[in-house]
Symmetry: C2
Subunit: 453 residues, 2 copies
């Protein structure tokens, strides 16, 4: 009896060419993270519940994949993000790490989300964070998005825009206009792009703002004051008194924020890719300083493709040492799905294997083995096809495998120490000595950067 | 209240320098697998129980990490190897794949093993397999270990020996001497290296072998016949009659085996690294053709560091199509632990980050940002240190982070557009223009291949 082969709903699994593309995206992220000096980290996918839920559960607990022991749920679960494991790691290894500690982590996390298109229950996150000891220079807040910018540039995705804001500006401003508990207000303001000014207005009414407070809020977030955000903020700063409620918070944050925006350009993000957006707030309790969301021009409906910000004390549940940090997370699995759906990335035939080597008959086997070995020795990826059958079947395999070149070894080639090299797309076929063929393939590789080791 | 930060027993977690080394080993494996033309594959870590246990459970079911739904165990579990998911994958996607289908898969698997040193409950496997449709050329059986050989060569681990045997030779031989149910005998023979000839003799007695059968068995496995294994096998083959029980199996296997051994050399494994070992059998029901184990000279106590073989029908539980295959699996997490313990690999200071850039004061921040950006633009990995504090603290950070070069930007450097570059180990410090410093770092990188993108 055979079992119907299938996977669970909400899990991603790719066919080979798509997997190659996924690996390319993942490797691009990793290369950039490394170049920016972040250490790799890999933590267990299973953690103790007391670690995962040290903060208290909230919404996420319902989505948790618990591990069973025997028939019953145990006190272990699969991680739902990479931030809790990072907090646990830095608290556990504080004395063994140098701070600021920069780490990247690309790993799978698990959330039993409602099953819907483009949402996955197992997905890769690709995070970078910088963690300080007691303090952390705000220049890090500028460098983190610069790494993200380079990733998208390398992937050939244009029009990436960082929407940035600062929680200290928001909190300081709201306190200064007499709103001390700003949670509902931040929540309302964050919806501006989604529900428009009228929608936000209703939510602000519900939050109990006076007409005057509402008017000031709408000016602050740019609905009624159409000057560029930095000008608006500068004029608020000018009128701000450090001794008033929220005043010091606002003015300190304003100084930091200007430093961050300037340094983002310094780190290589052109100014037209930086959008100061006083309406983004990113959740409610975690972030304390700069916050970022990342959008792709023309594809705003995808939502933010990389988000993060500055937090005050990463590991407060695990350590008495204050560890402020800043980071950004890419939801890699979802991003890949989105970029594919939008046609912003696509697999390319001939990208992966430099050549398929086919001996015409058994007599040519040894010569064909010699050829693949020589190709691999110079770093070219090569595959050998030694199944019996007609040439038509063999070429059809080459086609299915998406190789660009086929190297055929027939009787003549074997006797003369040559190879017949055929470019699949054009059908061009030429006979040449092996070393010449290798030179040719290496040239092709350096021309288009493909099939390389 | 803070929770004591810790991980579950039996899980591996590394400090940054060790993690860099682990990533290096993993990347080496991946690079070689790709060069040999294997497609990447990544399947969900959670599968349906009906898939994971289609074959029946056996010993492994006790070690399974089941997923709980609410309070109770569900019908989903974490995978315990990468072979069952591969079988499910090829059965599920048969019509979308080209056969022979070559794939590599480096991923985490889960087994609730008894907690002991060097054994992990979450560990990476790094597998390659080639799967045929109905048939598969035995040349693949030779290519698979060649990839493994290249991996160990690249890791700088000498003295890797492949112990190879063929289940058809064993089955054919035992049938020919009147042993039709050879399970207990294979089990006994496999223990030769561990328990010696006397131990095997006892087990063979228990299995009910006659003295004559035992004598022939001892000659066959090389205990009493001291000729090289290939000579022994050749003489058995010479005396074998195809019409006798096991005769045809033995003779066909012998022809294949000779092809495989010859082709292993052709693919690049020097003959002194190939040990025909008629006593290895590798488990009892899965493998049907060639079997391999891999040992490191002088470190035989580590056991086999890469094992595998040929199987008759990979996906019989999921498909009616016969899919023979051959593959090898590296238990990467355990291997890493073993190689570290044995001192065969070690992290190197200065391997990861090309340079740490330190501005002397706030005035030099913009210049320092410019420097890291220029370094990264040519592909050099660079880290910026902008925390306040004394130079001593900054150099101590450079030391802890294991960087080889520190680039210091002071007032003079800022004004003159130069940098001060200090090699940490020698203490040598020189002032030069930035472009010269970049050229110098690139030279150093190409000399020792470090800190590269």
């Amino acid at each position: 009896m055979t079992v119907q082969p299938s996977i669970l709903p909400g899990f991603m699994e790719l066919l080979p060419e798509e997997q190659v593309l996924f690996e390319h995206v993942k490797a691009t992220i990793e290369t950039v993270y490394r170049k920016y000096g972040y250490w790799p980290l890999d933590t267990p996918a299973i953690e103790k519940d007391e670690i995962l839920f040290a903060k208290g559960g909230g919404e996420t607990t319902k989505q948790i994949y618990h591990i069973a022991k025997g028939e019953h749920a145990s006190d272990q679960s699969l991680r739902f993000d990479l931030t809790v494991p990072l907090a646990r790691y830095v608290a556990q290894h504080t004395s063994e790490l140098a701070f600021p500690f920069r780490r990247y982590h690309i790993g799978k996390v698990y959330r039993g989300e409602r099953n819907q298109k483009g949402r996955y229950r197992e997905f890769y996150q690709a995070d970078i964070d910088v963690i300080g000891m007691e303090q952390l220079s705000v220049l890090n807040d500028a460098e983190v998005p610069a790494a993200i910018f380079e990733i998208f540039s390398r992937l050939g995705i244009p029009g990436v825009r960082f929407h940035i804001n600062h929680r200290g500006l928001l909190n300081g401003f709201f306190a200064s206009i007499g709103i001390s508990d700003s949670e509902a207000v931040l929540h309302a303001v964050d919806k501006l792009a989604k529900i428009g000014a009228d929608g936000v207005s209703e939510l602000l009414d519900e939050a109990g703002l006076t007409e005057e407070q509402k008017a000031k809020t709408f000016a602050f977030i740019g609905v009624t004051d159409e000057r560029p955000a930095m000008e608006r903020l500068a004029s608020v700063a000018e009128g701000m008194d450090a001794s008033l409620p929220g005043g010091e918070t606002f003015l300190n944050s304003w100084a930091d924020f200007q430093t961050i925006v300037r340094a983002m350009e310094g780190f290589g993000i052109p100014s037209e890719h930086i959008v100061v957006d006083t309406s983004i707030t990113r959740g409610l309790d975690y972030y304390t300083g700069v916050v970022y969301e990342t959008f792709i021009d023309g594809y705003e409906s995808l939502g933010s493709v990389a988000s993060g910000g500055r937090y005050e004390d990463l590991a407060s549940n695990f350590s008495k040492t204050k560890m402020p940090g800043v980071g950004i997370s890419i939801g890699l699995t979802r991003l890949f799905y989105q970029l594919r759906e939008a046609g912003l990335i696509a697999p390319k035939k001939g990208d992966y294997i430099a050549a398929l080597v086919i001996p015409m008959g058994q007599e040519e086997t040894a010569a064909a083995i010699h050829v693949v070995r020589e190709l691999r020795e110079v770093g070219l990826s090569a595959k050998l096809y030694t199944e019996p059958g007609k040439m038509k079947k063999k070429f059809s395999y080459a086609d299915q495998e998406g190789v660009r070149f086929v190297i055929i070894i027939g009787e003549n080639e074997r006797k003369e120490g040559t190879v017949s090299i055929k470019e699949m797309e054009s059908g061009d076929q030429r006979v040449m000595p092996l070393n010449e063929a290798i030179r040719y393939l290496l040239e092709q590789r350096s021309l288009d950067g493909k099939g390389r080791e």
